[in-house]
Structures are given as structure tokens and as C-alpha cells.
């Protein structure tokens, strides 16, 4: 249907629309008009993606000079592919309606592992291997060698692309990962480099967060994206952790040992080259004086994405003389390495700030701050000069050099923690140096600064005000949308007690309590008897799940559950879990029914949807607090309190509740879907926890279902499931939660719609 969103003609590729989609588009339009940033929360399964795409594409078509590009960031590969498929649907609709030829170019970008078509390279299993192998076939000096020596293998796909591919633009259309591969195969071009090249002039780019947030990759991939782009972060409830992860470094003794061998290899290579080809090193030396200056010029003119590892300001200078020659640099790295080794030889925990660390390193081994800052850049140059094919082997020294650059660049927002052993095993020495980022706004700041509109959206962003605070930006719109429902298809229940009236909670003091474990077991057992098909249960941590499963086994609870359903359990091994997951779905599919025991914050809770019969009930055992004894977390909490005035408890609860909401939200993937959401912990009933759940869940949490016993839960659940199992037709929804164009235009409805969005 064609919609009029605040004066903008929007093509929407469906005959019907949800009221909240309309409302969402209105808010989005306002954000784009204001050229500002937005935070929008809308439940999953209400067609968030298609609303976003429809509006932004329409905006792009209407104002091609205002918005030139849409950069859509999502989290997982399947999510990325889903977005592109939805886009394809939209574009098909456009061509059908306007009968004009599509002139839009949209494509997905992923790592080499997902895009490589080279027969040998693509056969490798791990992403790192693929990257390394690709590099050893496509590096510039390899190709130069190939010129003089044709027996040197190169990748013919890249050669082909390099020879022809850049001149011929990729024809307009929608390219998913597989389409890119097909196209690459047809033309004989490398799809990965083709995609990386094509994103510069594509109208829509869909890729993963890391390409924009991780400075190490962003520098390579996204630095030339235009300022007039709209950036969307979908499923953004975890974006702060992605930011922090991309800036943090851990160094173990093993890293240092491997780094040691790296340094030795470098030294040997340098002395060898010196004998044979001393000119090369001299050339590098002079390039270091001039080459970086050239890059500097380019950066100034184009307003490139700044690289936090190497910010703009220090590029004004050339590499300091002390590390300019190769031998000096290696000697420098050796000294740095010895210093780190000495720091790891400790028996008590040390925590210090970056300036403290720099002061100490200056006093002990006379390493200045300035050469440290150039470490990463200098190493990159050296590796290039020495023509080292397999970069993957040098991951340890690269890591150390990144650490050096980071620690000397940022004086705020980071902390260094050196732990001599793990907390759980105090007898085994396993020293780790954590260089941990505590401020997610550092990594995302360049994104907010550079692009005119950044939209942060997800199904669970509550409480909405916290994201602008921890990411340090000022949004123009902050809104939460509820799900309009013709029938209440979600049923959140808080179970606080067992039938024996013993309180159910995963609180640290009582979590090992026999009665609590038994009551949890009984809850699962009772539910397994009344819920059809699939049940997913989440535990607060992996260790907790292991313990509970073991004691359930001893008490015979699992045996009884097995009478009703098959049991599958998430393990720490991803391959094993994938298999369990597939078997779980199979068991749901063929009617046997199954239970999946899983972990909040685990891979399943983050990336897998349990639509329809794959998840008719989700049980959240306990409140998924993060492990609070971790020093890194404590440091971060302190930082949040000092810098952003966020109280520790507030943040912890916020973090726990967003994970709980993610877990239970896995089961509801649309208005025709239905499922029970069982929060099995009495602490959920408290206002401070409950209030942090997304609005669309809170709405259905009645006062009567705040502190139930297992029996009451079973009764309510039975009733709910029986009601939901009745046929649900489109007519039932029409006019309430599903609108035709005429219904949408009525004055009455527009008023109602205005209430859907709640401004925070």
C-alpha cells in the first residue's frame, strides 16, 4: 500500500499494516527531518525492519541529496541476510507499482569466510584461516612477485576483479551474500573485494556492527562512507558491550610467549633482508618520514572516520626517530615485552589507570609515551616491508602493539587490571593483564560525530534513557512503541514460590538451597506436562545450570521430565550446541516436544528465535545478573557512577533485565505467535525490576500474577494455552491490530496511533 507519512509517499509492500508500524515510521521521519539521532524501541515481530527500510528508502528517493546512503548494521549473519531479503521484497514492490526500472544498489557485506569463492580458501573452516590465506594470495608484494615469477600463486578472482571489476560498476539490484557469490562466480571476480568496493557507491549497505564500531576493521572498510548517511543499529540492546569489546585487550603469559617468537622471527627476517636487500629497509625508512604525511592529507580532506587506535591528531607528526629503523623498533618491542613479562610476575592483584602505567613503564624501562603510540602503525609498516605472508601468525605481536597504542593514547575511560590467578582456582598461576575499556562512548563517538542520523533500535531498550547516557549522545527522538494486540498473545507470569511456599530465587545466598533447586525442577516438570511442543528454559549462568542439572538428575526430576519431553542442553561448545538446537527443532517439528536448557547471555539467547511451536513457553530461572565479583565489572561500575551518575545497582539491574527481556522475548515473534513467559524468581515482582522490563511486556503483567505458586502458574498457563490454541484469523485482528489503508486514514485511528508511541 502507499502511505502518506507526514507528507512523504512511502511504499509499503503489504496490503495491511500494524498501527505501531505507522507510528514508528512517523517518529523515524521526524528524526531524519531533524538530521539527528534516535532511540526507538519496538517489540520484535511487529515488522520493525520493513518499516525502517520502507521509510528510509522512500526518504532517499524523495530527497536524494539529503540522505545518500543507508548503512544498516545488524548483529548476526542470518539477521543480515534477513534484512536483505526484506529489502528485496520492498524493491520488488517498488518496481511493480511504479513500473520503473530499479536503480537502487543494495548489498550485504560480510567477512571473507562468508564471501570467498576461491575453491581452496573457501574450504577452510575458520574465519581467521580464510583471512590469512586470502592475504597470502592477494597482498600487494605477492602480486608484484607474481609479475616477475608466474609460478607464485595468486588468487585469480582477485586478479580478475582488480583488472576489470573496478571500471565496470556492479549493476543496480539487491545483492545478498549468495547473490554476490553467484555474481562473482559468473564474472570471475572476487565477491569480497567487489562488495567492499561497491559499498562506496551503494545506496544501501547491510553489514555487521563491527565494520563500523571496531576501529581495527572500520579503518579498512568503512572509512570512506559519506557523511550524509543514515546509520541504523538494529538489535542494539547490547551495543555498549560491542563497543567495549572492540577496545579491550587481554594479555596472558601465552600471548607473551608467542609474541616472543614473533619478535625473534622478525629479527631473523630483518638480518636476512639486510644482507640481501638492504635498499628495501632504507626505502621503508624514508617512506615512514613521508608516507604517513600523505595519508594525513587524505584524511583531512575527506573527513574520514577517525581511528581510535591512531587518532587524527598524532598523525601530524612523523614516526619518532627512536623506532624508525627496523632494528630499533624490534629492540623497542623486546624491551616492552620484557616489561610486560615482569608485570605479569606478581602475586597479588594490581589495578591502575593508563597514566599510572605509562609512568611506571617510563621509570622502569625508559619507554616514552610517544613511540608507544606509534607502535601499531610502525608494526604494520614493518610487516608490509618484510613481506610477511601469513599475518595470522603474528597475531600476538599485533595484539601487543595495539595494546601499546591504546594505552598511550587514552588516558581516560580505560583501566588496567593484572590478576595473578583466576578467582575460582587460586592455586594455579595464570596471570592475565586486562586492559579494559569502561566507556562505550569512546568507540561509538566517531559514528555519532560523523553521520547525520544514527538510529538505535531494538525490541528491548528499556529503560530508554540509559542508552543516551552510557553512549553519550543527544537523541532528537526517544520513543517506545507497544504491541497492539487483538488477543493477548503473551502471558508473563512471575513465580515466586513453590507449592511448599518456599521462596524461589537465584539469589546468591539461597541458590544452592535444596528446596529452591527442587522447586525449580518441579516448575519445569509441571510445565513440561501442560505446554505443547517446545519449552525453552534459561539459567543465569553456565555453571549454575550445570549444578542444577546434576542435582535434578540425582533427584530423578529429569527422568520424570523425560516422560513428557526430550531434553536438550546448551553446552559451551558451539558446534555441539548447534546440533542440540537442530535436534530440538526436529523434536518440536515431529510432535514429540522438547525442552531446551540454555543460558542467558549465551549464544542461543542472543541469536536464535523460537517462533511458534519452537517455543510455547520460556522459563527464566533466576535474575540473570552479571558475575558481580569480576574486577573489570567493578571498575566499570565505578566509572559509570563517577562519569555518568548511574548508580551501580541501577546499572546491574538494567543489565540483568535487558537480558531477561531478551530471553523471554525469544518466544514471541509476531502477533500470530503466542507463548508463556515465566519469570521464576520472586525478585522480579519488585517494582525496580519490573519497571525495567520493556513496556510491551510490562503492560500484560497484572497485579494478580506477581507472586504465584507453581500450582497457580500451571492453572493460569493451562487456561492461557487453551485460549490461544483456538483458531486465529485475520478478521479477528482487522481494525484492532491490523489495518487496511482506509482504516488507517480514519480520524479515530490516527488518534489512537498517536498514543502508541510513548516518548521518554
Amino acid at each position: 500500500m502507499k502511505l502518506n507519512i507526514d507528507g512523504l509517499l512511502v511504499y509499503f509492500p503489504y496490503d495491511y499494516i500494524y498501527p505501531e508500524q505507522y507510528s514508528y515510521m512517523l517518529e523515524l521521519k521526524r528524526t531524519l527531518d531533524a538530521k539527528g539521532h534516535g532511540v526507538l524501541e519496538m517489540p520484535s515481530g511487529t515488522g520493525k525492519t520493513i518499516s525502517l527500510l520502507s521509510l528510509i528508502v522512500a526518504y532517499q528517493k524523495a530527497y536524494p541529496l539529503e540522505v545518500t546512503k543507508l548503512v544498516y548494521c545488524s548483529r548476526t549473519v542470518p539477521e543480515i541476510e534477513k534484512v536483505v531479503e526484506e529489502l528485496r521484497k520492498l524493491m520488488d514492490y517498488y518496481t511493480k507499482q511504479t513500473e520503473a526500472k530499479n536503480d537502487f544498489l543494495a548489498l550485504a557485506l560480510s567477512s571473507r569466510k562468508n564471501l570467498c569463492i576461491h575453491p581452496e580458501v573457501s574450504a577452510l573452516r575458520f574465519g581467521k584461516e580464510v583471512d590469512g590465506k586470502c592475504h597470502s594470495l592477494t597482498a600487494s608484494y605477492i602480486r608484484a612477485q607474481h609479475h616477475s615469477n608466474p609460478s607464485q600463486p595468486v588468487c585469480q578472482f582477485y586478479e580478475e576483479f582488480d583488472a576489470v571489476g573496478r571500471q565496470v560498476p556492479i549493476p543496480p539490484g539487491i545483492y545478498n551474500l549468495d547473490d554476490l557469490k553467484d555474481f562473482g562466480r559468473r564474472k570471475g571476480w572476487c565477491p569480497y573485494f567487489l562488495a567492499r568496493y561497491a559499498i562506496l557507491h551503494a545506496n544501501i549497505v547491510v553489514y555487521s556492527y563491527h565494520y563500523l564500531l571496531d576501529p581495527k576493521i572500520a579503518d579498512l572498510v568503512s572509512k570512506e562512507l559519506a557523511k550524509k548517511s543514515v546509520v541504523v543499529f538494529d538489535e542494539a540492546h547490547n551495543i555498549d558491550n560491542v563497543c567495549i569489546d572492540s577496545m579491550s585487550v587481554n594479555i596472558t603469559r601465552r600471548t607473551l610467549d608467542r609474541c616472543q617468537t614473533n619478535v625473534e622471527t622478525l629479527q631473523n627476517t630483518i638480518s636476512r633482508i639486510k644482507e640481501t636487500d638492504a635498499a628495501k629497509l632504507r626505502e621503508e625508512y624514508s617512506r615512514l618520514v613521508e608516507g604517513l604525511k600523505e595519508a594525513n592529507v587524505a584524511r583531512e580532506t575527506d573527513m574520514y572516520l577517525s581511528n581510535p587506535v591512531l587518532p587524527d591528531e598524532i598523525l601530524q607528526e612523523a614516526v619518532p626517530g627512536s623506532i624508525r629503523t627496523a632494528e630499533h623498533f624490534v629492540g623497542f618491542m623486546k624491551r616492552f615485552l620484557e616489561y610486560l613479562k615482569a608485570r605479569l610476575r606478581i602475586h597479588h592483584v594490581v589495578q591502575e589507570s593508563a597514566p599510572q602505567f605509562l609512568k611506571d613503564i617510563y621509570e622502569k624501562v625508559c619507554i616514552d609515551r610517544k613511540p608507544l603510540r606509534f607502535c601499531a602503525e610502525r608494526l604494520r609498516s614493518l610487516l608490509r616491508t618484510l613481506e610477511i605472508a601469513d599475518i595470522a601468525d603474528f597475531s600476538a605481536i599485533t595484539l601487543i602493539s595495539h595494546f601499546a597504542t591504546l594505552v598511550s593514547t587514552y588516558s581516560k575511560g580505560f583501566t588496567i587490571i593484572i590478576e595473578p590467578f583466576e578467582d575460582r582456582t587460586p592455586t594455579i598461576a595464570n596471570p592475565v593483564l586486562h586492559f579494559s575499556c569502561m566507556d562505550p562512548s569512546i568507540a561509538i563517538k566517531p559514528v555519532f560525530g560523523r553521520f547525520q542520523s544514527v538510529i538505535i533500535t531494538s525490541g528491548t531498550l528499556s529503560p530508554l534513557d540509559i542508552y543516551p547516557r552510557i553512549l553519550d549522545f543527544r537523541p532528537v527522538t526517544v520513543a517506545s512503541f507497544t504491541m497492539t494486540l487483538a488477543r493477548t498473545c503473551l502471558c508473563p507470569l512471575i513465580v515466586g514460590r513453590g507449592n511448599d511456599q518456599v521462596a524461589m530465587t537465584s539469589k546468591f545466598e539461597t541458590r544452592e538451597d535444596f528446596a529452591v533447586i527442587r522447586n525449580y525442577g518441579n516448575l519445569l516438570l509441571e510445565m513440561s506436562a501442560i505446554v505443547p511442543d517446545g519449552i525453552v528454559a534459561f539459567f543465569t549462568s553456565y555453571i549454575y545450570m550445570e549444578n542444577i542439572v546434576a542435582s535434578w538428575y540425582e533427584q530423578g526430576i529429569l527422568e520424570n521430565i523425560q516422560r513428557n519431553k526430550l531434553i536438550f542442553i546448551e553446552t559451551q561448545d558451539a558446534a555441539e550446541t548447534s546440533m542440540a538446537l537442530e535436534k530440538y527443532q526436529e523434536a518440536c517439528e515431529n510432535g514429540r516436544g522438547a525442552i531446551l536448557l540454555s543460558v542467558a547471555r549465551g549464544k542461543v539467547s542472543e541469536g536464535i528465535d523460537f517462533v511458534h511451536h519452537y517455543g510455547r513457553a520460556v522459563i527464566m530461572f533466576g535474575v540473570p545478573y552479571v558475575y558481580t565479583q569480576s574486577r573489570i565489572l567493578k571498575a566499570r561500575l565505578e566509572y559509570l557512577r563517577d562519569q555518568f551518575q548511574i548508580r551501580e545497582n541501577d546499572f546491574l539491574t538494567f543489565d540483568a533485565m535487558r537480558h531477561a527481556a531478551q530471553c523471554v522475548g525469544r518466544a514471541i515473534r509476531g502477533k500470530t505467535d503466542y507463548g508463556l513467559m515465566i519469570f521464576a524468581d520472586k525478585r522480579y515482582a519488585r517494582a525496580d525490576k519490573r519497571g525495567k522490563l520493556p513496556r510491551w511486556i510490562q503492560e500484560h503483567l497484572t497485579d494478580g500474577s506477581l507472586n504465584l505458586t507453581i500450582d497457580e502458574t500451571v492453572q493460569l498457563g493451562k487456561h492461557f494455552l487453551r485460549q490461544m490454541a483456538q483458531p486465529f484469523r485475520q478478521e479477528d485482528q482487522l481494525g484492532l491490530s491490523l489495518l487496511t489503508l482506509e482504516q488507517l486514514q480514519s480520524e479515530d485511528m490516527l488518534q489512537k496511533i498517536a498514543q502508541i508511541a510513548q516518548q521518554a
Binding site: 503489504y14 496490503d15 495491511y16 499494516i17 500494524y18 515488522g47 548476526t76 549473519v77 542470518p78 541476510e81 534477513k82 526484506e86 560480510s110 581467521k128 549468495d178 555487521s208 558491550n241 569489546d245 572492540s246 579491550s248 585487550v249 587481554n250 594479555i251 596472558t252 601465552r254 600471548t255 597475531s395 595484539l399 586486562h434 550445570e546 549444578n547 542439572v549 546434576a550 538428575y553 529429569l558 527422568e559 520424570n560 523425560q562 516422560r563 531434553i567 542442553i569 553446552t571 558451539a574 558446534a575 555441539e576 550446541t577 548447534s578 546440533m579 542440540a580 538446537l581 537442530e582 535436534k583 526436529e586 514429540r592 549464544k603 541469536g607 536464535i608 517462533v611 573489570i632 500470530t672
Partner: protein
């Protein structure tokens, strides 16, 4: 009636029946007895008809063997050879003991089948009552015709019999009970054994290898339950344990399952993440290198339990599916495309596409959502639309013809112009309409539809029964042609005629009774 080809398994002389001396014959399919000096059997029972045998207790004067039939009748044989009576009886008993179970199953199945048919089909039941109970024809004859009719379908349904899955908790059903003197008793049933075998083929293999030769069945299961294989922490399986190999085998199976990966790209956690952080980056705790060594024993056993549950569930699921896979080759087209050749890149996209499409579909937003229907796959559509037609030189139109003619008609309709000069007068038209409306002159023929209202229902049903009974008899009658065997001839000339007569008489009686009542 004894055909000579029958194999005689045992002959026992001097067996009395009804105070008459004679000989007892045990043959391949039946047991028979004939009086001395005559070559005819006066008693003959099919094994299938025998429900059980009973013997007189030891030490009783008369040494007897009694056969109880399914019908409730019984026949008693008295072994009267003084010196060997007991031995004779035991030999006969032993042989019967072996023979009877073989036939029992068949007999029971047949009986069950008959019972089922009667229960499911009320018309048949009525027919049975009319014909058999009123002794128009014998039960045997009634069924002889029926069962053969159903045999094809019957065997089909037998083959397709739904495989019963395995309860996931079958091991839990074997509750050990203490037997009071420091031991445990496990109660195994054939069902449980079957479940164990189907779920763990390695155990079955072990069983086949060991059981009759190396150990008794009982010993095998004792060892099974003692084995750590059965117990939860399978870490310390001793080497002398025959099941340690099974555990290893299972481990291997699990590994291969894992390395095989998953077919559905949407649940593949390995390729979920687009760009994982390199080792050393991130805040997540670094996976310790010496993972297994610093884990406590308890943690190890815990993760072993988890592994086992996953494995167990997967095996149970697989056992249920193993049989079902064969016939569903075309039913699930998607599953066949993803096949085993998942290594070749060519096969993956279709399934992936399907899954992606499924994931982005909003069926309620779509307009008139097209119902998913099963498309009819016709090799020759003409045949379908015209049905089987006797081969005559009859001209029928092909669908092309029909399409052509439709298009011609459509064309004509488009260019149709009413010739207003030649229309009927309005009075003639209205009279024609009244004549054709209900109650009009031409609509008088509606009388016969009320006949089922005129006749009371009980009369109707009685008539119906008579009709079906007569029909059944006629069917018997016609099934005798062509008369190829003397048996059929006898049937035709002999009692079938009587039967028809009886049926006719019955009808007559009913008719007169009705007439009587009417007058």
C-alpha cells in the same frame, strides 16, 4: 476331507475319545483323531482354533489331554496305553506347546481383525447379524469372502503400520528395587529391551556378539546395569567392562554428529557471528588454555551428564525417525534437497532461501494469504477429467477442445447482440416462468421425494437390512462364477440355493407381516 499331502508330525495310538479307542494325529496345521479301524477323522481341529491345552495332574489315574477351543468347546483325549501313556501324553503336549503359539498369533490377529471390522462398520455388523446369526450362511463363509476382499488393503495397512516411538524415559522406567538382601532388582520388559536396542545400537551389537556364546542373557543385563555405561558419570569405565567400548562408540557417534554440522543455517551457531573478535580482544574472560586440567572432577562429571542427555535425546529422536524416513521421500521436498551432499555448495542455498523466506514472512500482513495447498500432480490430465471410459469408438473432447469451445463461446458472447424483434411477448414469458416456478404446472413431479417421509423409519431400516442381506447373498452367488471347482458347484447347487430361498422367504414373511399390519 483330509488331504494326503499334509505332513504328519506325530502319531499316537490307543487314544480314547468319547470312550472309543483310536489314533491321534498331530499334523502340520491341525490335530485330528480317528476311531480305530476307520480311515476317517471324526475329530479335527485346526491349531489356530485351539485356545489352550490342559493336562490332567500327575498321579491321577486317567492320563488326559484336553483341548479348549476359541469357541469354548473342548475335546478330551484319554491316553490309554498303560505302559507309555504318560510318555505319549507328554510328547503330544510338548509338540503342541511348540505348535500352538505359532498359530495363536495368526488366529488372534484374525479374530481381532474380524472384531475390528464389525465394530467399525455398522452395516457389516447388521449384515453379520442378518446372515450369520440367523444362520442363513455360516460364519466361515461370511468371512471367507470378506477377508480375502480386505487382504490387499490389510497387508498394506500392516506394512504402513505406524512405528511407535520410544519413550525418552525408558531407562527411568527400570526402577531398581532392593530385594531385601543387599541387592538390587531391575525389572526388564521386552519393550524396554527393545527400546534400549533401538536407541543404542552398540548395545544391541554387544548383545548379539556375547549373549548365547559368552554369557547368558541374565548375565548380560546384570553387567549392563553394573556398568558405568548405565550410570551417569561415564568417566571411569574400566577396561574389563564390555560396555566401555560402547561408551567410546557413542562418543565417536556424538563427535561425528557434531562435526557433520547442522543443515539449517539459521541455527548454526558457528557461523552466526559475522566477525568474531580475535583472540585476546574483548572483555569476556579469556578461555583458559589448560581447560580440562583445572576443572574439578565434579564439574567434569556434570558436563558428562549434559553431554549424555544431549546424546540420549538425539538417539531417541533418531530411533523414532529411522523407520519413518523411507516412505517420505517425496513428501518433504525441502529435506531431500538439503540431503547429505551438504559439502557441495550447490545444495545449500535452496534450504537457506526457504528458511530465510520463512523467517521474514508476516502472514497476517499479507493480503489474501494464499492457502498452501497440495498441488495435484497429473500425468495425463485428460484421464483425470474424463474418468475411466470403456474402450469404445466413442468420441470425447480433449481439454484442448473444451478450452477452444469455451473461447469460442466467450467470443460469441462478446459479440452477442439481442435481436429485439424476435423476442417473446411478455405474457408468454411470464406464463412460462409461473409454469416453471414451484407449484407451477411443470413442477408437479416433486411427489416422489416425500416417499421417505411417508414410510416410517423402522420400516425403512428393516427394508434396508433385507436389501443388503439379499445383496450380500447375490454377491456370494455371483462370486461362484465361473464354476471351476466341484466345491463351487456344490455350493451353488446346494446350500446357496437354499440360502437364497431362505432370504426370499424372509422377505416374504416380512412383506406379509407388513401387509397384515396395514390391513
Amino acid at each position: 476331507m483330509a488331504s494326503l499331502s499334509e505332513e504328519v508330525l506325530l502319531v499316537v495310538k490307543r487314544v480314547r475319545q468319547r470312550k472309543q479307542d483310536g489314533t491321534l494325529y498331530l499334523m502340520a496345521e491341525r490335530i485330528a483323531w480317528g476311531p480305530e479301524g476307520k480311515d476317517r477323522f471324526t475329530v479335527s481341529h485346526l491349531y489356530a482354533d485351539i485356545r489352550c491345552q490342559k493336562i490332567s495332574p500327575d498321579g491321577k489315574a486317567k492320563i488326559q489331554l484336553q483341548l479348549v477351543l476359541h469357541t469354548g468347546e473342548s475335546t478330551t483325549f484319554h491316553f490309554s496305553n498303560e505302559s507309555t501313556a504318560l510318555k505319549d501324553r507328554d510328547v503330544a503336549k510338548e509338540l503342541l506347546q511348540q505348535l500352538l503359539p505359532k498359530f495363536k498369533k495368526k488366529a488372534n490377529k484374525e479374530l481381532e481383525e474380524k472384531n475390528r471390522m464389525l465394530q467399525e462398520d455398522p452395516v457389516l455388523f447388521q449384515l453379520y447379524k442378518d446372515l450369520v446369526v440367523s444362520q442363513v450362511i455360516s460364519a466361515e463363509e461370511f468371512w471367507a469372502n470378506r477377508l480375502s476382499l480386505n487382504s490387499v488393503e490389510h497387508s498394506l495397512s500392516n506394512n504402513n503400520k505406524q512405528e511407535v516411538g520410544i519413550s525418552a524415559a525408558f531407562l527411568a522406567d527400570i526402577r531398581p528395587q532392593t530385594d531385601g538382601c543387599n541387592g538390587l532388582r531391575y525389572n526388564l520388559t521386552t519393550d524396554i529391551i527393545e527400546s534400549i536396542f533401538r536407541t543404542y545400537p552398540t548395545v544391541k551389537q554387544k548383545y548379539a556378539e556375547n549373549v548365547p556364546h559368552n554369557m547368558t542373557e541374565k548375565e548380560f543385563w546384570t553387567r549392563f546395569f553394573q556398568s558405568h555405561y548405565f550410570h551417569r558419570d561415564r568417566i571411569n569405565t574400566g577396561l574389563q567392562d564390555i560396555f566401555s567400548e560402547c561408551a567410546k562408540e557413542d562418543e565417536k557417534g556424538l563427535k561425528s554428529m557434531v562435526t557433520q554440522g547442522v543443515k539449517n543455517p539459521m541455527v548454526d551457531l558457528l557461523s552466526l557471528e559475522d566477525k568474531t573478535l580475535d583472540e585476546g580482544y574483548g572483555t569476556a574472560t579469556v578461555p583458559t588454555t589448560s581447560n580440562s586440567s583445572n576443572k574439578s572432577l565434579r564439574e567434569n562429571s556434570n558436563s558428562a551428564i549434559i553431554k549424555r542427555f544431549n546424546h540420549h535425546s538425539a538417539m531417541v529422536l533418531a530411533a523414532g525417525l529411522r523407520k519413518a524416513e523411507a516412505p517420505s521421500d517425496q513428501a518433504s521436498e525441502t529435506s531431500s534437497t538439503d540431503g547429505n551432499s551438504r559439502d557441495s555448495d550447490l545444495f545449500q542455498p535452496p534450504l537457506k532461501k526457504v528458511k530465510l523466506q520463512e523467517a521474514i514472512e508476516y502472514d497476517d500482513l499479507q493480503g489474501d494469504s494464499v492457502r498452501k495447498t497440495i498441488s495435484l500432480n497429473l500425468k495425463k490430465s485428460d484421464r483425470y477429467s474424463h474418468g475411466p471410459i470403456p474402450l469404445q469408438s466413442q468420441h470425447y473432447s480433449t481439454s484442448q477442445d473444451i478450452i477452444n469451445s469455451i473461447s469460442i463461446i466467450q467470443h460469441e458472447m462478446r459479440s452477442y447482440k439481442p435481436r429485439l424483434t424476435q423476442v417473446m411477448s411478455s405474457s408468454a414469458a411470464s406464463s412460462a416462468i409461473t409454469a416453471l416456478s414451484p407449484g407451477g404446472v411443470l413442477m408437479q413431479g416433486g411427489g416422489q421425494q416425500t416417499i421417505n417421509q411417508l414410510v416410517p423409519t423402522d420400516v425403512q431400516s428393516e427394508l434396508k437390512h433385507l436389501y443388503t442381506a439379499a445383496g450380500e447373498l447375490l454377491r456370494h452367488f455371483w462370486s461362484c462364477f465361473p464354476v471351476s471347482t466341484p466345491f463351487l458347484e456344490e455350493k451353488l447347487t446346494g446350500h446357496l440355493e437354499e440360502m437364497l430361498q431362505a432370504a426370499y422367504n424372509k422377505f416374504q414373511a416380512w412383506q406379509t407381516r407388513r401387509m397384515m399390519r396395514k390391513t
